[in-house]
């Protein structure tokens, strides 16, 4: 069943991405409000949304583990965190490329960029912490607590553009009621968000299966040792 679901999602995501890439490349204008190279935003913004919401979901999975003490929630938390971290990397890299073109610098210590970089380091630390612990329940417990602590930074990332108001990084471009800038350009962005979300779900499902297999192997190994 899960295999078929993954296949279905993969087909839909491929079709959506292909169609959307065609629209972005040929139907959208080359520059918007005098800014060329804006098309990288079609990947930057969805990556941002997916990474931040992924970290939120991972925190909920961690809370579920701490509540229920079932390792499948821990597997879900690590799978979502890893995928979210990849999207966070895409977000930072595409943002940096955009900064080079639009602001003439690869990096700027502006609140949103800084808080997002901290967020990336924190979740990289989460994965490092997991590697340092062998016992599955101890690993799940400690990393679950860290995931809750790290999520505070996600909130700071989200509100940084409102709290500091430095206005270098724009306010949300993609909002249900119409965001800032990019008027009439949001269509392909929503579809890109959907396609990338499907890809994220596929990878999480695959990673979950891998985690479950790994846990089974570990328990078999412990059983063999006991014998």
């Amino acid at each position: 069943m899960r295999q078929k679901l993954i296949l279905l999602f993969a087909l839909i995501a491929t079709a959506l991405l292909a169609w959307d890439l065609y629209r972005i490349a040929y139907e959208m204008p080359d520059s918007v409000i005098g800014v060329p190279f804006y098309k990288i935003m079609y990947f930057h913004v969805p990556s941002g949304i997916l990474s931040l919401s992924g970290f939120g979901l991972a925190m909920f999975a961690s809370i579920m583990y701490l509540w229920k003490k079932e390792l499948r929630y821990d597997s879900l938390a690590v799978a979502i965190t890893e995928v979210s971290l990849v999207f966070a990397t895409v977000l930072l890299v595409t943002g940096s490329i955009w900064a080079r073109v639009a602001w003439n610098t690869w990096w700027n210590w502006e609140p949103r960029l800084t808080s997002m970089l901290i967020c990336w380091i924190l979740y990289a630390g989460y994965l490092m912490l997991r590697r340092a612990i062998d016992e599955p329940h101890q690993r799940a417990r400690l990393s679950g607590v860290l995931s809750i602590f790290a999520f505070v930074d996600v909130i700071i990332v989200w509100y940084s553009i409102q709290w500091w108001q430095q206005n270098l990084h724009p306010r949300p471009v993609l909002e249900v009621r119409g965001g800032q800038g990019m008027k009439g350009m949001e269509g392909p962005m929503w579809f890109n968000l959907l396609a990338l979300a499907l890809i994220a779900i596929i990878v999480v499902l695959l990673r979950l299966r891998q985690e479950n297999t790994k846990r089974e192997i570990e328990s078999l190994r412990r059983y063999a040792h006991a014998l």
């Binding site: 701490l66 808080s115 901290i118 912490l129 340092a132 607590v145 809750i148 602590f149 930074d153 709290w163």
Partner: protein, 250 residues
């Protein structure tokens, strides 16, 4: 000598009437203070960590003065960042030992099986760490003043407020992460790796506020940074006290 575990705390959990609840709360506070007192007494007797932390702080201050030959104006601009980096590095040494000092002779297991809850244990240790880190910071200020030729006397009250708020942020997170990493094989590496990124918002706020205090020409409005520092302290104190039981006991 005060007993490590107050016998009154056994009433905890059975307290149903108002006087019993009051007694239970009181014994909770006493438990926290007992643990803080135990840690402080043990540190003051051995002086291992505080000596290492203080000499490390002085060495960093010395190294920074060699690395950057700063003019008085630059000292005013960069002093805040420099001081907080020193406080953070020196503080991490104290925090690293906070829980690991309980590992020999299974003292941590003994503490966990005592009537003290995980949150009380954490609070006691956090208070002890807070006092120790503040002591190191207070000792660093005159050294900073001499090495960098800055007069700090007039700014001490304002500096004290920032130091009290910033150090509380450092110690609460540091004590939780010390509990988190106590049983890891890479304990000494994992604590700074996790602690420093988590501290950055508080550290940034403390640096901005301290910088503005040190710089007489500063006209910046730092209200947002003070608010961030206070909010950080409150949020993480609540989070830590709620989650530390899970960390220590499961």
């Amino acid at each position: 000598m005060t007993p490590l575990i107050s016998t009154e705390s056994t009433a905890e959990g059975h307290a149903s009437s108002a006087p019993a609840r009051k007694t239970s709360r009181l014994s909770g506070v006493r438990m926290i203070l007992t643990i803080a007192g135990k840690d402080l007494r043990s540190e003051l007797r051995s002086k291992d960590t505080i000596n290492a932390s203080l000499s490390f702080a002085v060495v960093i201050l010395l190294l920074f003065s060699f690395a950057f030959d700063m003019s008085p104006q630059q000292v005013h601009e960069m002093g805040g960042g420099l001081l907080w980096l020193v406080f953070m590095f020196a503080g991490a040494l104290i925090l690293n030992r906070s829980f690991s000092r309980e590992l020999p002779n299974d003292c941590l297991d003994a503490l966990l099986s005592s009537p003290a809850t995980g949150a009380q244990l954490w609070a006691g240790k956090a208070i002890a760490n807070y006092v120790l880190v503040l002591a190191v910071e207070a000792a660093c200020l005159p050294v900073f003043s001499v090495f960098y030729n800055v007069s700090l006397l007039a700014q001490v009250p304002k500096l004290a407020v920032v130091m009290l708020l910033g150090t509380w942020a450092l110690t609460i997170i540091g004590t939780v992460f010390s509990a988190m990493t106590v049983n890891l094989r890479l304990r000494e590496l994992m604590l700074p790796t996790l602690l420093y990124p988590m501290l950055i918002p508080a550290l940034l706020a403390a640096i901005q506020c301290t910088g503005a205090i040190l710089n007489p020409d500063s006209t910046a409005d730092n209200t947002i940074w003070y608010r961030l520092l206070v909010a950080y302290d409150v949020i993480f104190t609540l989070l830590a006290s709620a989650l530390v039981e899970v960390l220590l006991v499961g």
